[in-house]
Subunit: 537 residues, 2 copies
């Protein structure tokens, strides 16, 4: 508790930030209804779930206050612009702070970065709150894959040559009757048509026994001219493709449902959503730099202590804090033992991002012709994102690393300078321009989400193989005491979409339903817990 | 000749259009250089190639005049807005005219509709002339395929279930040693890794003998909720997929290089490019409603007659007219016989588009979740385009048919009302909302490009199987007389990209090089002619 308060004060003193809507802490804001007074609610954390829950509760006549530990709202929805601070816990209780020095007008999403077309709550919210969206390009065939030691190759060659080789092999197997048993359910005309499907699927050579001899899907061998028609480049060999192991390094990630086209992003930065959510609340609803240091369940309410708000009793408390933080620092007396046990089970996963300013959009030049999307690597940076905004302009920002697991832990342990050096070296394998500080200057940023104060990682790590996870997930979907309904956990952490804003909104709606009594408050039957590894953002 | 003049006068009287830059015809405009006078050039046709050639020649000190047969520039770069006329040749010398009645602010590209990322000339031009671009979304996994008699199915299911089935079959064939000879070049560890590649490629079931048992890539079986995790829908059966014949109906079109992400379109309509090109020329360079009716080669120039400009002799003439129109109506005396023969060989291909206004963007609703891209069918409309602009707004426009070959001929022969009825019926198989005229009102438009005056189709139809095509293509890449260099054919029709603006720009650059002497003027050696069927826009 003392550490948290000290950390917050330190944060404020280091950043010099003034909370956006400074107001006396501990004062409840009333909903649009005004007169109705359904109860008082303290929400811990001004992330997307907390902000959304606040609006919903205000609409139902509750009085709502949000305590936010940091000096900004949004949590992992965080966009860096010049002057913004990236703060991390260092070793031995120290704090490291980076200040963004991107040119005016440049920005980079350091957390949430994209919205799938099927995340209806997020899209609907953006529509209603007039957050302007533009397509986020997840993949272009000009994107690259680089394996250490190898040459970076384009997506169009890797993807289409692979597809051609696989189709040719299967065509051969079907044609020679090697799959008679497997294809027994198909009529002979269906089997003929399967061969035709494979021919189109892989762009096989109909004049050379349906071999794969290359395809213009992989691009043009020589630039077109009035006398040079499209010609397929010599295909990459199947053995070479296999040796590159690209499929083990997220190359096929964009084919998964969460990343399928058409994705979106807010024009001007992901935090436009946060700004809109905050703007949709009465002024002063949020108290910044106000970490909650203790929560205790009383017979008729919840006793909460926070840095600025001091000690007070509220009717209800919704916690949007990452569960590991809640578990370690905040939960005090009065909680049921099963709830308390559930809170202690969940871990968050590590992840780092690196952000670069580029003084030329070299990736859009004739040399690369890349507009958005991601290049993949098999080394520590894992991936490089190209901006899906302000195409054809002069400068831009790039995500120079976005990694998980051991790579993230390793990068998180590096000094800030070491992180940038490492990321620059790796990215140079994709683009030699990273070696030139006139093009990519030394004002990069990095963030290790697992080291950010009041975060404990990039998203909840639910593992279906963990025997305790089903109990924990179910138990956390109900308040501390289902009959008393005083304390609730919210956020994408207790949703089927850890790490996604859609999960945060879904959780907010669900919990507000429980609090107001329209949704059952018993721990629900859960057949499956989220598979965070498959879903991680 | 008389017919062409009458047609043009009729056009003008019917449309009442005033040429954008009305000026006395036949007056040559001088380049920025002013004083230099390298010669006079008449350009026939204010399409993209003609406009670009004019700018290049003006920059080199030539005096340039453009005669445009229609009352607007751009040719097949044509964007419809309220009040715009779509004119076609009817039967027996009649003219049909449609007037666009879309709501103010709505527009639809009836011709050129997209720019590939590798069409560097177009992108560079847009940059230099400050034409704002936005992504054109070619494919989203929410797009649909509809076979007559069947239920429309989503791209995500068709694509990913197919991929799963194919991967599972090949996995089986490799595992049981059915492809030993074909895989002889792979080491045993490469063969093991091939199995792993197939597992990821097809999302095979690792707990069920690497069968394909469905994938969440195909979407979610039930909408997610806090207790419902992503679950794969039951996969479409391989036999059912084969019976749908989707791969024979352009389903895999977006994988081809010309349509790969990231594509672009100008904000506000494709004709923003035309407006910029026209704006880049001195006022009065273009004479509208001025069809050229005769061209004759003289020893020291070219004698040209046009409706407004009358008869005059110029040093050079560049023809951007479709070659069939040039051949049938314009070429008079003095041409070399091989050139004249070459001009007569090329045909243009038929194509229709239908445009709809929609009063609700129903395709973006929760029911469909479609943002851009194309749905494919196996009937006459062939495809339906969703707008890649103004997402989340109230109304929108859709391309309700875009067809070629027999479907285009058949639709072109229909009355205007019949075309719309047919297109509406077909589109209803994709979206029942097409059955509701409150949602999709009766103010649709259609265009049969092969019936538009001074066009003879949507693009040049080069066929590598045609024995005369190599001669014609090569010969047309040189002026009428390579030594005299007086008359040149320009346009995407004599480029490796028929139907694409990049081809038009490439041709303009090439021919200007020949005219000015920086490029050889002999017919070049051509190993291959464009394959228009594969490239058609």
């Amino acid at each position: 508790m003392g550490a948290a308060t000290a950390g917050s004060a330190l944060l404020q003193s280091m950043t010099g930030a003034i909370p956006a809507t400074a107001a006396p802490a501990g004062q409840f804001r009333q909903g649009r209804g005004g007169a109705r007074q359904a109860g008082t609610v303290l929400i811990i954390g001004a992330g997307v779930a907390g902000l959304r829950a606040a609006r919903l509760l205000l609409d139902q006549g509750y009085s709502v206050e949000i305590s936010e530990a940091l000096d900004r709202p949004g949590g992992r929805n965080f966009t860096a612009r010049t002057g913004d601070k990236v703060v991390e816990n260092g070793s031995g209780g120290t704090i490291t702070t980076q200040t963004c020095t991107f040119d005016e007008g440049l920005y980079l999403n350091l957390g949430a970065g994209r919205i799938p077309y099927h995340h209806r709550r997020v899209l609907d919210l953006c529509s209603r709150l007039e957050v302007l969206l533009e397509p986020y390009i997840m993949e272009t065939t000009a994107n690259r894959f680089a394996a250490v030691g190898g040459v970076a190759e384009t997506n169009r060659r890797v993807a289409n040559d692979t597809r051609g080789h696989l189709a040719a092999l299967l065509h051969r197997a079907v044609k020679k009757g090697a799959l008679t048993a497997e294809l027994a359910a198909l009529s002979s005309s269906q089997q003929e048509n399967l061969l035709d499907l494979l021919t189109v699927f892989g762009d096989l050579n109909t004049t050379k026994d349906f071999e794969y001899t290359g395809s213009t899907r992989a691009g043009n061998k020589v630039p077109l001219s009035v006398t040079d028609m499209p010609q397929a480049p010599t295909p990459l060999g199947l053995g070479d493709l296999i040796d590159a192991r690209y499929w083990q390094n997220q190359f096929y990630h964009p084919v998964n449902h969460l990343w399928q086209a058409t994705m979106f992003q807010p024009v001007g930065g992901m935090d436009m959503i946060v700004k809109a959510l905050v703007g949709d609340l009465p002024e002063g609803t949020i108290t910044y730099d106000d970490p909650v240091t203790s929560v205790e369940i009383l017979p008729d309410g919840v006793l909460v202590k926070s840095a600025k708000g001091g000690e007070r009793t509220v009717d209800y408390c919704l916690s949007n804090m990452p569960l590991p933080v809640l578990h370690e620092k905040v939960l005090k007396g009065g909680f049921s033992s099963d709830f308390q046990k559930a809170v202690g089970i969940l871990k968050f996963g590590p992840s780092c991002k690196v952000g670069w300013q580029a003084n030329e959009r070299f990736w859009e030049s004739d040399k690369y012709q890349i507009y958005g999307g991601i290049s993949w690597t098999n080394d520590i940076i894992q991936q490089v994102w190209y901006p899906s905004n302000d195409y054809f302009s002069e400068k831009g920002t790039m995500t120079g690393a976005y990694n998980f697991d051991d790579d993230a832990i390793k990068m998180g342990e590096m000094s800030l300078a070491e992180r940038l050096d490492t990321a620059r070296q790796s990215a140079t394998r994709l683009h030699t321009e990273f070696g030139d500080t006139d093009i990519v200057p030394n004002n990069g940023l990095s963030i290790a989400w697992h080291k950010v104060p009041y975060q404990s990682g990039v998203s909840a790590h639910w593992d279906p193989a963990d025997v305790n996870s089903a109990f924990a997930y179910s138990r956390l979907l109900a308040p501390d005491t289902p009959t008393n309904r005083r304390f609730f956990v919210i956020g994408d952490q207790v949703s089927p979409l850890p790490g996604w804003q859609e999960g945060a909104l879904m959780s907010a709606e669900y919990v507000v339903g429980q609090l107001t009594g329209t949704q059952r408050s018993e721990p629900p039957v859960v057949h499956q817990v989220p598979d965070s590894r498959a879903l991680r953002p």
